[in-house]
Amino acid sequence: MAAGPDHLFNLRNNFYLGAYQTAINNSEIPNLSPEDAVERDCLVFRSYIALGSYQLVISEIDDAAATSLQAVKLLAMYLSSPANKESTISSLKEWLADSTIGNNAILRLIAGIIFMHEEDYNEALKHTHAGGTMDLHALNVQIFIKMNRSDYAEKQLRVMQQYDEDHTLTQLASAWFNLAVGGSKIQEAYLIFQDFSEKYPMTCLILNGKAVSCMQMGNFDEAETLLLEALNKDAKDPETLANLVVCSLHVGKSSSRYLSQLKLSHPGHVLVKRVSSAEDNFERAVQSIA
């Protein structure tokens, strides 16, 4: 454990917990070392990306900026124009192949995120499996969860826990893992989110985390309350809307409003995609049965 105070602690925490605007607003931290300053900028720009301000990030980061920031810019470009994603991916691959910068942790992280979007977990893990930062390990946990390989996810989590069990990302990753394996572990996930909500200001991410834990435990009424609280904070948060759709269905209320809202604001959301594919699926099934 390093002796000096950790200046970026709050910024990182805000970012991980989804308080992106707060992270941006409180990013002016005096007396940062150059490395810390780059990390700070990465976090700030990643916060902007999380808020959907891709163009701002693309225009703000010029070509002279550090590799990490270039990587962040790449992510912004990837997310902003799905049409041009081929070129983005090819330049990403080019950079990754470059031995001087290919090992940059942020670049690898961004690579992991982009290939995850591409559902190319193999390629994603190629760059992230080695770990090195908490972010990378946390991303690994998520990739393995996505692959339904909770055994691998658990191993990654152990690594994180050994490094710093109380780190916000470790706690978050344990919550993801607990939710993914289900059963009695869900309670622990709920408690982790509960801890966050006691310790830090409420964010949509924390509220959604709590709500998802509640839903997994079959407690849809509490989940609904939490989600409505989250909706109050941010009426456009896609996960809040998606979870509200699910939750409303379970409590026997109409979900169509939330679904249309989600379709309008986030046509690419997983729920929207799932629903539309399910409609197709239905028609096909009707054909096959007839």
Binding site: P5, Y20, W176, V181, Q216, M217, V270, R274, A278
Partner: protein, 1221 residues
């Protein structure tokens, strides 16, 4: 040893505790007896009448007396209230070593160097017995606490036990003369009323002290052979039990502890030793540098000891008495004896939770010192001073409350203090390195960190934060950020109490309370002369705390006050409203109800909640000088005004708050000159000239009055005043007024009358009153004064007043909040009531509405339904939009070839998604649909229920599928993680084992829907009702229930709903056929044969009756009417109509038209053609909803449920895992 109090003085030879008050008497070698209050630490009194050392002193147990004996051979009995020596008992012939009162008889026992022990009656002031037998100095003698025994110790190396039973008999029953005579003889010829019972020999040197055990037949003695001996006795003999060796010099004094099973001794070797009375081993030794110990005293009630030495005395405790406790929500965990106990505040239930390790007897003070509790993990951390500071971690098993006696193996560790800092983390202080170790519940170190200041204790300070204490400072340290969040210079902090919202903290030190914010920003400091013991925050942010003898409060602004006094110290655990929960020193939970009015009042005042203040003023009796002074001091004289009766105080307060009218009223009552004057001043300040005038008038202060009239321009009154002055012969006043009025003639007249002729002349001549001046000139004769030359005189005329009469514009007096408060409070109440009424009205209206529905006659019912129908059609249009959605290509199919290899790392193969597990495991259609395997689901439904038309089920399928996953945003900007929601979760479900999918439909929802359907039917909204019933019918195939009983209920529901669907379809059909009255009647008739709820049946019958009656099918109508009457209609209108129809039919029992309807012959109705299928005729049925059809319909889609193929083969509904097993 916990030293409570220490004195410096001459050598202390005798000590005695007062049984009730916190007092101790110390008799000194110098001859002085000191009376100390050891709680306050003050010398109360000194008694100085003995000559030479005073070796023995003792308080009486109930009267204000004490006895002392010294080297002047005298025993003195004192009254400490009157500070007098009452009398002196003479008789001993040498130094007196000890004196003691008997606990009930008026006796004193004394031991002396004259080798005797004497027993005195202090009421008759005589010696009643002399106990002889010792053949050296008697060092100590004392009564047995219950029996008629005396124990004595002597330098003759023996301890003797004396029986004084006969002495008691003599004093109690002196009735028998004969007996008395013999006793007198006995008295004369030497004491037979006290005989030696046992002589205890064993010490090889002189014995200095011997004392009885308070309850057991035991004696302990200490001698110059440096040994302590324990003796036991029974009725006939006494014997030595054991010897305690350890003292290095003569043992001065030894006794049993009043409450614990220990022996305490002190000695000239400068040490006090504590011994285990059962194991007879030394427990602890306390040494002093230079002072030999001479005497020891135990408090008869409390856990206190005192020891006298060469240069003073100490009052001390052996063990801490504060029970360790921790608060958690509405409950308290605390340690008592060898158990952890649990107390619930709301129910006051107290139960034993788990046994904790018995504190080792190897030394004292090892009982739990602090306790920390983590509610979510149900874990308790107990810290004690064992091994120089250590902790034990216990996990409370969920089910064992109050049962097991088995001590679980606790996780242990050493550390200065340990405290939970998060749900499953605790911090342990490592003093040697000034580090804090963060550990998890397995007692493994998770993290280590260096603390920012040299710390000797840590406390909780919010999740992840620690409050670190050093000698003179506390800081709050964030363990994750490694940042100091706040620091504060404080005296040595002993306890830390956080407010319920964690916004404020109270730091308790020995004599101070410091209130600070959560960042340790100082808010206020209180100083207490008495030790601060405990505290808790109440719900309003008031800190309630206890000292040794008071319960007090501290407001956020630092104001404090006493709530009540305490007999014994208590430790507050929680405060709710006016109830204080506390633990006493015996570890019992107690509840104290306090009068919170005073501090709540002050708090409201401080927070400016004036409405609350007003209501308290009106409703409670809080008063007293202190409160008034407080209000005045805090700048609320107007509030104080409400309390005061005394006029003078009222006047003062009124003046202070500028309330002139009250002041006037009070001033009138008192009628004191000074008050009038002050009233005048205040009124003048405010500009209220009327009151000023009144005040001046009352005090007859004419000069001020006239000046007032001058400046207010009230010339009439001014001239009146002039006249008054004239009457009163006040020349000066008269002149002044004339001057103010500008009345020159009057002035001249006054001057003339006063004999100032020259002045009068000059005045007259200057003002040009020539006739008068001439007259005066003649009167003056030669003495006419000359006017100064060369100066132009100007006349002194008063200016004319700017405004006349009335008040000036008044100063605005701060007022309103309180006067206004009363009014507005009253108004507020009224409005509330009105609002309440409004709510009720609304509800009433609703009810009227519903009743109205049922009461409608047939026509209205029809109209209503038709209107509904139209609306329904409108709605229908809105739904078209959904179909136009562009569907993106399918994305959900898993990618192939995920197992391509990279050089270093082998990517694991994809795991199986939960939905696949679901679809593999399940044979229920609903679960398959939730898993997204729509085709499997459809095949199942087709097989089970013959369903072929899936279009109506589409939305249900989609809902099931959408509801099967929740969405977790994990890593920022990365894809969302869908999580499968499982059904039937419980705390004990094991992870990684997949339960069935959670389904969005359940049976209870359907029952709700059924009720909605009924309601819609009742109110005649047939289209809506039909929609609801159909949706039930369309949901049932996708419902999953748990038990077989529920399966039956589901099947029953299908039948119920089917009947309604069929009936409603017919009814709607009937309404379309306006031009076919016969068919209309038939359909109405069939409707009455659907299996409906009685109210609906009545409505159907009513409708059928109406239709038939109108079509002149009177006989049929009367049949319906009879059936209606059979249902005992609750509505008189229905019954009446039915009776009328029956009567009409009696007159004319005919039918106009022939209907395909024979109510005598049982039938079912074809669901598609709506014709009766009478018993015996052939029919086919729907495999799902069981609706019947004429045979020609076979192979079509069922028109009732719109799902299944009529007459298809089906295995039956499968809707529960219990059917599959």
């Amino acid at each position: 040893m916990l030293t409570k109090f220490e004195t410096k003085s001459n050598r202390v030879k005798g000590l005695t505790f007062h049984p009730k008050r916190p007092w101790i008497l110390a008799s000194l070698h110098s001859g002085v007896i000191q009376l100390w209050d050891y709680r306050m630490g003050t010398l109360i009194d000194r008694f100085d009448e003995h000559e030479g050392p005073v070796r023995g002193v003792h308080f009486h147990s109930s009267q204000p007396l004490f006895v002392s004996g010294g080297d002047d051979y005298t025993i003195k009995v004192w009254n400490y209230k009157t500070h007098r020596c009452l009398f002196t008992l003479l008789g001993h012939l040498d130094y007196i070593r000890t004196v003691q009162f008997h606990h009930e008889n008026p006796w004193i026992v004394s031991a002396s160097d004259d080798q005797t022990i004497r027993i005195w009656n202090w009421q008759s002031r005589t010696c009643i017995s002399v106990l002889t037998g010792h053949n050296h100095y008697v060092m100590c003698a004392s009564f047995h606490p219950k029996d008629d025994l005396v124990v004595s110790a002597s330098l003759d190396q023996t301890v003797r036990v004396w029986d004084i039973g006969s002495l008691r008999q003599k004093s109690v029953s002196p009735a028998d003369d004969l007996l008395r005579l013999s006793q007198m003889n006995a008295d004369l010829f030497g004491g037979v009323d006290a005989i030696v019972k046992y002589v205890l020999e064993g010490h090889d040197r002189g014995v200095n002290w011997a004392s009885f055990h308070p309850t057991l037949p035991l004696i302990v003695s200490g001698a110059d052979d440096r040994q302590i001996k324990l003796w036991r006795m029974n009725e006939t003999k006494a014997w030595e039990v054991d010897t305690l060796r350890g003292h290095m010099n003569n043992v001065s004094s030894v006794m049993f502890h009043a409450k614990q099973d220990i022996i305490v001794s002190n000695s000239e070797d400068k040490s006090i030793r504590v011994w285990d009375a059962t194991k007879r081993t030394g427990l602890q030794t306390f040494r002093r540098e230079h002072d030999r110990f001479w005497i020891l005293a135990v408090h008869p009630e409390m856990n206190l000891l005192a020891a006298g030495h060469d240069s003073g005395m100490i009052v001390f405790k052996l063990e801490r008495e504060r029970p360790a406790f921790a608060l958690s929500g509405n409950s308290l965990y605390y340690a008592k004896d060898r158990f952890l106990r649990y107390y619930e505040f709301s129910t006051q239930r107290d139960s034993q939770v788990i046994p904790i390790r018995r504190p080792g007897t190897a030394s004292l003070n090892q009982s739990p010192r602090t306790l920390s509790y983590s509610p979510t993990e149900n874990a308790v951390l107990i810290c004690s001073d064992l091994d120089g500071g250590s902790y034990e971690l216990y996990i409370i098993p969920k089910d064992s409350i109050g049962r097991s006696d088995f001590v679980q193996e606790a996780k242990r560790g050493t550390g200065g203090s340990a405290v939970f800092i998060a749900r499953n983390r605790f911090a342990v202080l490592e003093k040697s390195t000034n580090q804090v170790l963060v550990k998890n519940l397995k007692n493994e170190v998770v993290k280590k960190g260096t603390l920012p200041i040299p710390t000797d204790a840590i406390f909780y300070a919010g999740t992840g934060n620690l409050l670190c204490r050093s000698e003179d400072k506390v800081v709050i340290f964030d363990l994750q950020q490694r940042l100091v969040l706040g620091d504060l210079q404080t005296p040595f902090v002993r306890y830390v109490v956080w407010s319920n919202d964690m916004e404020s903290v109270a730091l308790l030190s020995k004599h101070n309370i410091i209130i600070a914010s959560k960042k340790l920003v100082h808010q206020c400091t209180l100083h207490e002369t008495i030790r601060v013991k405990s505290g808790a925050w109440d719900d309003n942010g008031v800190f309630i705390y206890t000292t040794l003898n008071h319960i007090k409060y501290c407001l956020p602004n630092g104001d404090s006050g006493i709530i009540r006094t305490l007999e014994v110290p208590i430790y507050i655990t929680k405060v709710t409203a006016n109830i204080i929960f506390c633990l006493d020193r015996d570890g019992k939970n107690r509840i104290i109800t306090i009068d919170a009015t005073e501090y709540i009042f002050k708090l409201s005042l401080m927070r400016k909640k004036y409405d609350h203040v007003m209501s308290m003023i009106r409703n409670s009796q809080l008063c007293g000088q202190a409160m008034i002074a407080y209000l005045q001091q805090k700048g609320f004289p107007e509030v104080a005004l409400h309390f005061v009766e005394d006029e003078r105080i009222r006047f003062n307060l009124a003046l202070e708050s500028g309330n002139i009218s009250v002041a006037v009223a009070s001033a009138t009552q008192i009628n004191d000159k000074d008050l009038w004057y002050r009233l005048g001043v205040e009124a003048l300040r405010q500009g209220n000239s009327g009151i000023v005038e009144f005040a001046y008038q009352q005090t007859k202060n004419f000069e001020r009055l006239s000046f007032l009239y001058l400046i207010t321009g009230n010339l009439d009154k001014l001239s009146k005043l002039m006249k008054i002055a004239e009457v009163k012969n006040n020349v000066m006043g008269q002149f002044h007024n004339a001057l103010y009025l500008g009345d020159v003639k009057e002035r001249v007249k006054i001057l003339e009358n006063a004999g100032h002729l020259p002045l009068a002349y000059i005045t007259a001549s200057v003002h040009g009153l020539d006739d008068i001046s001439e007259r005066l000139a003649t009167e003056l004769g030669d003495n006419v004064p000359s006017l100064p030359e060369g100066k132009t005189p100007s006349l002194l005329m008063p200016p004319s007043p700017v405004m006349c009469g009335g008040d000036w514009p008044l100063l605005r007096v701060m007022k309103g909040i309180f006067e206004g408060g009363l009014e507005s409070a009253a108004r507020g109440g009224a409005v509330d009531e009105e609002e309440d009424v409004g709510g009720d009205w609304g509800e009433e209206l609703d009810m009227v509405d519903m009743d109205g529905m049922e009461n409608r006659d047939i026509e209205a019912l029809l109209n209503e339904a038709e209107r509904e129908e139209e609306e329904e059609n409108d709605d229908g249009l809105g739904w078209g939009g959904l179909d136009d959605l562009e569907l993106p290509p399918e994305l959900d199919t898993p990618k192939v070839s995920a197992n391509a290899r990279s050089s270093v790392f082998v990517t694991p193969t994809l795991g199986m998604p939960v939905s696949h597990i679901w679809s593999q495991k399940s044979s229920l259609a609903a679960e398959q649909a939730a898993a997204g395997s729509f085709d499997t689901a459809m095949r199942l439904l087709h097989r089970q229920l013959g369903i072929k038309n899936f279009a109506p089920l589409k939305s249900k399928f989609l809902d099931l599928f959408s509801g099967s996953h929740s969405y977790l945003r994990a890593f920022s900007s990365s894809p969302v993680v869908p999580l499968a929601i499982e059904r039937g979760w419980s705390e004990s479900s094991s992870p990684n084992v997949r339960g069935p999918p959670a389904l969005v439909f359940d049976f209870s929802q359907l029952e709700e829907k059924l009720k909605t359907g009924y309601k819609a039917t009742t109110s005649g909204k047939f289209n809506e009702a039909l929609r609801v019933f159909l949706s039930i019918l369309h949901t049932i195939p996708l419902v999953v229930v748990e038990s077989r009983r529920e399966v039956d209920e589901v099947k029953e529901l299908i039948t119920i709903v089917k009947e309604y669907v069929l009936g409603l379809q017919m009814e709607l059909k009937r309404r379309e056929m306006k031009d076919d009255p016969v068919r209309q009647q038939e359909l109405a008739a069939y409707f009455t044969h659907c299996n409906l709820q009685t109210p609906h049946l009545r409505l159907a019958l009513l409708s059928a009756m109406g239709v038939c009656y109108k079509a002149k099918n009177i006989a049929t109508a009367s049949n319906f009417a009879k059936r209606l009457l059979e249902t005992n209609p609750s509505l008189e209108s229905q019954a009446k109509m039915a009776r009328q129809v029956v009567q009409a039919a009696e007159r004319n029992m005919t039918d106009e038209t022939k209907l395909n309807y024979d109510f005598r012959n049982p039938f079912v109705i074809c669901g598609s053609t709506y014709v009766p299928i009478y018993r015996g005729q052939k029919d086919v049925s729907c495999p799902y909803c069981t609706a019947r059809f004429v045979p020609s319909q076979e192979g079509n889609i069922c028109t009732v449920c719109d799902l299944a193929v009529i007459g298809a083969d089906a295995s039956g509904l499968l809707c529960s895992p219990s059917q599959v097993r």
